[in-house]
Structures are given as C-alpha cells and as structure tokens.
Symmetry: C2
Amino acid sequence: MVETTPLIAALEDAGYRVTGPRRNVVGLIAGRSGHFTAADLVTESNRRRLGVGRATVFRTIEVLSDVGVVERIDLPSGEHAYIACQPVHHHHVVCSGCGRTRDVDDAGLRHVVRDIARQTGYRVDDHRLELFGLCPECQTAASGANRPGPSR
Amino acid sequence: MVETTPLIAALEDAGYRVTGPRRNVVGLIAGRSGHFTAADLVTESNRRRLGVGRATVFRTIEVLSDVGVVERIDLPSGEHAYIACQPVHHHHVVCSGCGRTRDVDDAGLRHVVRDIARQTGYRVDDHRLELFGLCPECQTAASGANRPGPSR
DNA sequence: GTTTTTGCAAACCATTTGCAGGGTC
DNA sequence: GACCCTGCAAATGGTTTGCAAAAAC
C-alpha cells in the first residue's frame, strides 16, 4: 500500500531514500492549496501528531527544493514561502487572497531579458519574475459580500 | 553646514524627522557600492564607532523603504539585501560578482505582464523582476581565469 | 512643550547543527 | 550491514519590541 506521488517519485529518481517522515511532509504539502511556509508544515505536523520534527521538515523542504519539485518564492512581506511545482523553468502568479499560485511559462520574457542584457552589458545568468494579484475566484468573492477565504 | 542628500530630502518630504542617527545610516548606505544587508550596516556602524544601535539601523531601513528610496531585493541565497534607488517602478540587475545593481525600466515587461493576466485570469496588481548575472567589469575580471563562452 | 526617535537589552522567530539511535536500501 | 535519515535540544542568526531618556520640531 505504498502510494507514489510525483514528489515521492522525484525523490526516488534522485536517489534519496523514501522514508516515513518524508512521506508525511509530502502529504502535508499536498494538502495545501496555495503556498506554505516551513512553519505552516511544522504546525500542521504537530496538530496531526505526525511526530515529524522541525529539523526534518526543513531538511525535507531543502531536499525537495534540490530536486526541483518545490520552489521558494519571496512574498512581498519578505516571508519565505514555498510551492510545489514542475521542475522546469517558469514563473508564478501568486494570489494575495488565497495564496494559490499558477505557473506561467517564460513567454515573451525571454526577449525582455535579452534586451536588458544588451542595454546594461550584464551577462544575465538567471532571472526571477513574480506576479501578485487576485485569482479569478478571489476576484469574484471580493466583488460580492463575502470575503475571500481558502477553500478545500 | 547641514548637508542634504536625496535620501535625507526624501525623509523630510515625507514628514519624518531628520536626526543624527538617520544621517549616519544614510551615510553608510551612500558608502556602499552595491547591495547591503542590515547586518552590513550594523557592522560598519560599529567599526566607525558611530554609536548607532542595531534597532535604529533596522528602523531607518524600514523608514527609507516606506519612502521608496530603498528597496529590498531577495538574493538567490534567500538573504534579504537592500539597495538605494529611485522611487519609481523599475527592476534590477544584480551582479553576483560585486553586488552592484543597475536599475532597469519596465520596458517590454508591461506587455508580458498583461499577457499573463489575460492567460491566467488573475488580476495582477504588482510584479517583481530580478535578474542576476555578471556586470561588464566582473566579466572582464573573470575572463582572465575563466574559459570563454558568455552570451553574445 | 509635544511628539518622535534612540539605545539598550531582552524577546522573538526562523533556520541550522551535533549527535546517538533507528530506518532504508 | 553500511550508510542515510530522524528527533531532540541547543545553538545560531536575523529582526522586533518595551521603555525611559534624548532629540527634533
């Protein structure tokens, strides 16, 4: 009865050991609809009495991040949050209402980056674009009488 | 003999009091060529025996940030760094060699953002683009020891 | 004179690390 | 069985806060 999720599969493929605590952390991540912080997972782990230690949560996030299935985003507040995503180059639109994100491909950005490199003379090795706003659901919710809230 | 720098002027204009410690912090920032962390300023303040407390450094950075003349950037390492800049919407290319940054205008990015909003249905309120690479000087310096191959 | 600001130290919060025991391949 | 991983607790590093004294307007 060993379930395999994409995140677990990514761990295996990269040669990391698949352990109980790691499965638990992955489960916690899967249960999140939007972005999450390390503290979120620790809190939730305690609430559910999973017995996963703080350190392991941090270490697992790091491992998943190395593998590329979890990515760190920097919220406007300065907090470090994480999201699960595909291990390919892309960017994110983050909903400031519910925290959900959507992946966005590089699209026209490639040209913008090239132009900037040309203008500044910098050799641009990496770039990061983050967008913040309201997702369609939260727009609807906000325009009515109800406040936006996470759904599950 | 009260000197006025752009940062100090911004403080005054916003109605903040211009104090000795704030002048000192602004002086420290002016002495930096690239980005800086709060810790950098604290260290430098101690070295120069300016008598500016840790808390004041943090509070001054916050105030300058509110006013818009200092902006936080999130380095790939996850560190929070700051740079002095103009209070208009723009983006940054950060040199991973020397830490110096250059401002970049919105240029073609505007279109990219609009396309993304259209594709995802999100109402995009804000965005942030950060580019990392090597500035022309650092490219030259590195080319002696590095093998060729940079873009262009 | 009133209101803001400061320095200090302690508090706080997030993240990391050392290490002995336990689990996985 | 060898090596990786985990939990715990303590250490760390960055940032905030309470408060009385000092400074700015």
